[in-house]
Point group: C2
Chain length 217, copies 2
Amino acid sequence: MTIKDKLPEELREKPASKRDPAAKKQALIKATLDTIAEIGITDTSVSRIIERAGLSRGMIHLHFGGKDNLLTVAAQQFSEQYYAEMDRMTDLGPNASPEDRVLAVIEADLSESLLNPRSTKIWHAFRGISSSHPGIARYSSTQDERLVSTLRQAFDELEKVGCYPPNHAEDATSGTLALLEGMWVNYLTDMAGFSRERSVDLICRFLSGLFPGSFLR
Amino acid sequence: MTIKDKLPEELREKPASKRDPAAKKQALIKATLDTIAEIGITDTSVSRIIERAGLSRGMIHLHFGGKDNLLTVAAQQFSEQYYAEMDRMTDLGPNASPEDRVLAVIEADLSESLLNPRSTKIWHAFRGISSSHPGIARYSSTQDERLVSTLRQAFDELEKVGCYPPNHAEDATSGTLALLEGMWVNYLTDMAGFSRERSVDLICRFLSGLFPGSFLR
DNA sequence: ATCACTAATGGACGATCGTCCATTAATTGT
DNA sequence: ACAATTAATGGACGATCGTCCATTAGTGAT
């Protein structure tokens, strides 16, 4: 912990000029993700990445120890950014109904800021190579612990109100995530024909079947 | 059309020995898919493919005109095989109830013969590169026309029985496919923890919410 | 101003990439 | 038996891959 870290944000970002390892690392990560989104993961080479980042050839080995590590770190950061934005968008007040909290997750996941051409391409690219890159596989699952438990808690509360068969909240959680997964695939496959609103409505219709009286629109 | 083509199957497959373009093409396609499943699409090179097929270097260019074309043909054939097997498994008698026909699709899609380590890895690998390979994108959608209309027809019949809001059958169709999509992702992500039976049950629970009285187990 | 230190550069390296083609081998037709 | 035809081979090719390191340049301390 240096003294720099205690300064306010504006001053901390001063160096900016020639020497700034952290900024360079970040530039490489961003360049990696942008390259994947633009030309695909198979054509994302060290040359393409450093070219886009405007840096020199040795930087990847210097800062990450190799291309594979850079890819893994990029996947990790991409995943973290998704969940950070998801948190930001689902941070309702303490009095929000469980129904509203579920709806917030669905609408966030299908919103422009999370579901867009760039993110979908990157997400599916990483998932496509995940089975042969164990390090990346860890960040290509939808089953993020916190997201699951957010949904689970909300469905648990809804379950208490009525009388439901066993595992109802658990199935509702898994099913909602699966439906969202399917919507992302639909978006990747046909961006022009995709409608966020219709997708939300569709998921709500399924949920209102599970919890009669709720999720009606 | 040579005389060979008129001979019975057993005799037609005779050549088998040194010269057999069709068999060699097929061997290359199979080797391609196997390689993708085993070491991932990024490491699937011409060398790895011909090595696995036990053929010589020039074959890919000779029979397919290049690696990209081979990849596209492999994706196409993989997709066709999926739908052929799906057809085979959902070919119920003419008196099957709509409910049974929907169930047959779900159980087929989640069966060992369609959903297994090899097929999931290949499927997601192709989808991951689909945005940068337009030729492959055509075969990486779940929205196969015939499968959609099979489900759609069954849900239409179920819809007639009761009284439902507009677009009910359409939403049931999209939602079912989305749920299946999500189940494939779950399988890819965690094969050991995946249960086909629980997955079928989960989808049925969602569908019985949509069509009260049906899909109960 | 000088020094020690580390960020950053960019070219060299061997390996592998995908394509192509001159050659060889197998088959067919006469 | 002898062309004619076509399948198949396997090495050569230039391009590009990812890694590595000797060198240069910027920074902060004295």
